[in-house]
């Protein structure tokens, strides 16, 4: 986007505004004890000094705010700035803390915006509704953890589709995939978790595509072209003909696909 106005048309473009995105680690604060926080940060930095060298961080104090634990944000900022980390934003603070953060040159990231962004990443441009339950498991008890780990950890997202999946369409879900209509021949539905089809399944269904062997496929009328669980597959010809047009579940047992009537 060039911003040439007539006044500066002879000059080169001096500035440009462009949208850009980057991933920033978040420090999630679980305790208001500054010494404890300081020790933990230094311990963490010592483990991977290169990673944390001049790294921007987002300070997330949502946990403390919900528990109504008061935190001395000014001191916390001082403490973090004394390390190699560069605090750039605050999330989940109270109104006062937000004011202070803004004065200290941090921007305020709203939690709602984060959730919306997560949702839009999952949205697929067809007619399905993404029902998101972005569950962020909170297992780490250390006072600090980085956002990176959070992204990798289980974000279980199920997808519900209410319109027919037509021939040639491909659907993918990072969690379970629930189809409330039929799946046409020549369509392909894939899920990292389980697949449920409340209608005729005539296309291909692949559950546990990332290797989750305990995934299952459920359908009310099985006429599938191909079924697969964690890479173990069968095509129509290999399927037991007595199971055709029946409500079945399909699961994996000792590397073998078991098809059982429901």
């Amino acid at each position: 986007m060039s911003t040439d106005s007539s006044a500066i048309s002879t000059q080169k473009t001096v500035i440009e505004f462009k949208s850009s995105t980057f991933v920033v680690p978040a420090i999630i604060i679980h305790s208001a004890d500054l010494t404890q926080i300081g020790d933990s940060i230094n311990h963490k930095i010592k483990q991977t000094p290169e990673f944390f060298k001049n790294s921007p961080v987002l300070i997330d104090i949502q946990n403390l705010s919900t528990k109504q634990v008061s935190l001395n944000l000014a001191s916390l900022l001082k403490l973090i700035r004394a390390t190699t980390l560069i605090p750039i934003a605050l999330r989940g603070g109270t109104a006062e803390q937000n004011q202070l953060a803004l004065k200290s040159g941090l921007f305020i990231q709203s939690l709602q915006a984060t959730l919306d962004a997560d949702k839009s990443l999952q949205a697929i441009p067809t007619m399905q509704h993404t029902v998101s339950a972005v569950i962020i498991t909170d297992t780490a008890h250390s006072p600090i953890r980085t956002d990176r780990r959070k992204v990798k950890s289980s974000a279980a997202i199920s997808k519900i589709v209410t319109s027919p999946v037509r021939s040639g369409q491909r659907l993918y879900s990072e969690g379970d995939l629930i189809i409330m209509a039929h799946v046409s021949a020549g369509a392909e539905i894939m899920a990292e978790g389980n697949i449920h089809v409340y209608g005729s399944l005539r296309g291909r269904a692949l559950a546990g595509v990332m290797g989750k062997t305990e995934s299952r496929i459920f359908c009310t009328d099985c006429q599938a072209e191909l079924i697969s669980i964690a890479g173990n597959y069968k095509v129509t010809d290999d399927l037991d003909p007595t199971m055709q047009h029946k409500p079945v579940q399909i699961y994996l047992q000792d590397q073998a696909l078991i098809i059982k009537e429901l």
Partner: protein
Amino acid sequence: MARIIVVTSGKGGVGKTTTSAAISMGLAKKGHKTAVIDFDVGLRNLDLIMGCERRVIYDLVNVINNEASLNQALIKDKRCDKLYILPASQTRDKDALTLEGVGKILEALSEDFEYIICDSPAGIEKGAHLAMYFADDAFVVTNPEVASVRDSDRMLGILASKSRRAENNEEPIREYLLLSRYSPERVKLGEMLSVEDVQEILSLNLLGVIPESKSVLNASNAGTPVILDEKSDAGQAYADIIDRYLGVNKPHRFIEEEKKGLFNKLFRGK
């Protein structure tokens, strides 16, 4: 604002152009100002079926390239003054069409037409994509055989994901099924899929069944939309389709085997 209807199928030879000609004439006869556009650039046929091939001077591609105005290219039908035809170019190919060009034409037509019928080419490539991209309604023409049904299913998937309405997250295109070349006798013998078989696969709103009929070929050869042949079964089937589309509740016909010679009950008071 005009309602834009695409007549599409995926597969070729199922009766898209026949249907486009019939429904555009049907809507115009009901008093709605209607334009019908041939998107089959390179395989121009609509003008033949509409019987206006000798009056084609400019075409769709000329208008897109600003070589002619829309009014110069539109051909007014001689039988019905509410109907206009925008023919395709026979000397170009589908790459001559552009999204912006088609969008502009449809926008301009929307200003003084009530219905715009887009006659889609076969296939799912550029011509078919542009024909359906701006649509509000889709008439999916299907023959009662597996390949046609499969292709229609594929087309429905594209309608649901690649149209302007889908891309802008608007209300989806309304999809209607037109089952053409239907022969109850052959269904009975098990040589043809039945209406129920097709509906089981496509689950669509059935707008009408058009029986296999000699009158269709005769009408095409004569350059008359078959809907004008009010005595023929196919003509009546299309008339029913127009009524149903305009909201009149009519029972479906031509699904069961009928004794020949009994279609003379003329019900139209025109």
